[in-house]
Amino acid sequence: MKLSRNNGLRASAIGALVVSGALVLSACGSDDNNEPTKSGGKQTSAAASNIKCDGAKGQLLAAGSSAQENAMDLWVKNFQAACEGVEVNYQGIGSGGGITKFNQGQVAFAGSDSALKDEEVAESKKICKGGTGVNLPMVGGPIAIGYKLEGVDNLVLDASTIAKIFDTKITKWNDPAITKLNPGAKLPDSTIQAFHRSDESGTTQNLGKYLSTAAAADWKYDPKTKSWPAPGGQAANGSSGVAQAVKGAEGSIGYFELSHATANKISTVSVNTGASAPVAATSENASKAIAAAKVKGTGNDVALSLDYATKAEGAYPLVLVTYEIACDKGNKAETLPTLKAFLNYAISEEGQKVLTSADYAPMPAEIAAKVRAIVPTLS
């Protein structure tokens, strides 16, 4: 009797300890995550009231690009906090998988690093009764060129040099092409270890598109391929794998989303675009480059054609735009209110503002306004 009571007491004491520990931990966690949006803790709860739930309920399934997964996590967290009884489930299984699932009717919307191809649009008509799948750009992000080189802090490269490095045409750090762009930097006579993605990825595809636009003479590979087209260099699995590899090897260079560079404290290359000063890889600079994009989609489709060769001041041209793909007409009736409410929040000023905290770039005003007008018309 006495023994068991003692045990009970101890158990509850441990329980209390665990709970309080968890509270402390989660408190820290949310503080860290919301740093930029926080500005006084209360704003998140005040802001949460701005999310319009509009009859959102039940479960909303989505899948696709892993590049926007962190953005989705932020949105889902805020949206679920504001709208009771709603569960949004986004699986970062890759753009290809997301589009396949969307076209099979398994998910309400897909996330993708590239706009739907013609045949995918044709296929989407089976699911979207009376409509088609449309591309709604919602998350942008700079692709950082990260490097590790002792004693060199602000490396500047241009598109042609980047192309030659990743194509292993430039193999030494003190190559004249690099020293010319970096007067005064102490560049060693060591080999460049260029890392690329070993898996297929929208990040690779966007780098390819950038290089074949901005450095057409030095990058002759198929710009559409999602797998690495060049024969040389070394590879690692996933953005995190490339970041890990670059972090671990002196004299290495690789490409990944900016968040990986921030998380691993990897220095990033500033790109000489022809503007008056080299442009650093930041969310803000990426937004400026996306603003130079043209909308190539028609009707409700807002597929973008990025201007990779932009010379606008402070525009970082190596960017990735990810789309949410949903039906313009013929969405499933039971998930439609939730879908609209969620996408409404995502593209709202508030939803976009959250993005910078995870090193993503918000959509520039003009494009955001266009998407904002379309989301409420989804049916």
Partner: protein
Amino acid sequence: MVTTTPPAIKNRSRRAKSAARPGDRIFSGLSKGSGITLLVIMAAIAAFLTYRTVLAVSKDSTNFFTTFEWNPAGDPPVFGIAVLAFGTVVSSVIAMAIAVPVAIGIALFISHYAPRKLAKPLAYVVDLLAAVPSIIYGLWGAIFLVPYLDGLNQWLDQYLGWTYIFDKSADGVARNLFTVGILLAIMILPIITNVTREVFLQAPKMHEEAALALGATRWEVVRMAVLPFGRSGIISASMLGLGRALGETMAVAVVLSPSFVLSGHLLDPGGGTFAQNIAAKFNEANEFGRDALIASGLVLFVITLLVNGAARWIIARRKEYSGANA
């Protein structure tokens, strides 16, 4: 004696007759059903793989077996398994070359040399090695093993570079087929060790004692009584290990720096394996790309089938020599 035998036979036949009881019928039905289910599942997998393979390969613009490229999304689609088949076989062979002798050594040590106090914990630790998930091996390989193998690679390049296979012709860290082979060796070690240990433990005590009585040393006992008895066990254990090495996915995907270049220089980063390539390409692949990957999966399926068949054949051929019939 003679009088008691016929009743025993009678008894047995009565028991055989009672097989018609419901419990027996259910049991035999269940076991037959399990056997048939397995065959149906295997047939279904093979049929699925073959169907998707035909879809993919019929549209391949080049030879599926000899092409050094993987671009099913291209126009026209180009993909082939030459590099994958080479990488899969080479990394598995390296793994086997390292793992089999070491595993036999460990198994012999546990079964015949180690004091009992040491043998038990050691066997337990080897079992534990098998319980580590392959992604953990992969991360350990990529973060810990690779930097430490750089030195070994340079040494091999310097002193054994003349062998061509150890000639390091491209710069880069040790994310190559050789490293993958070492990692796979560690991963298949517990399987081979456990099975061979069990076989060695079953070596007939009478044989061993007879050898000892003839004045054999401990090594001679092992050589004359234990190893011949365990030979088929060693082979089947090795084949189990080889099966795992051939199909290992995540660890290879994390450690290897893949490329579609077929190179005999094992220390150069590059190459690839079937499972690694599927893991790396599946997420972003479209329908057709997936079919192409499934086609490569079918090739791996066939290779594994051949390896297992060969192992069965060798064991069957050697059965008469093994002590199992003694």
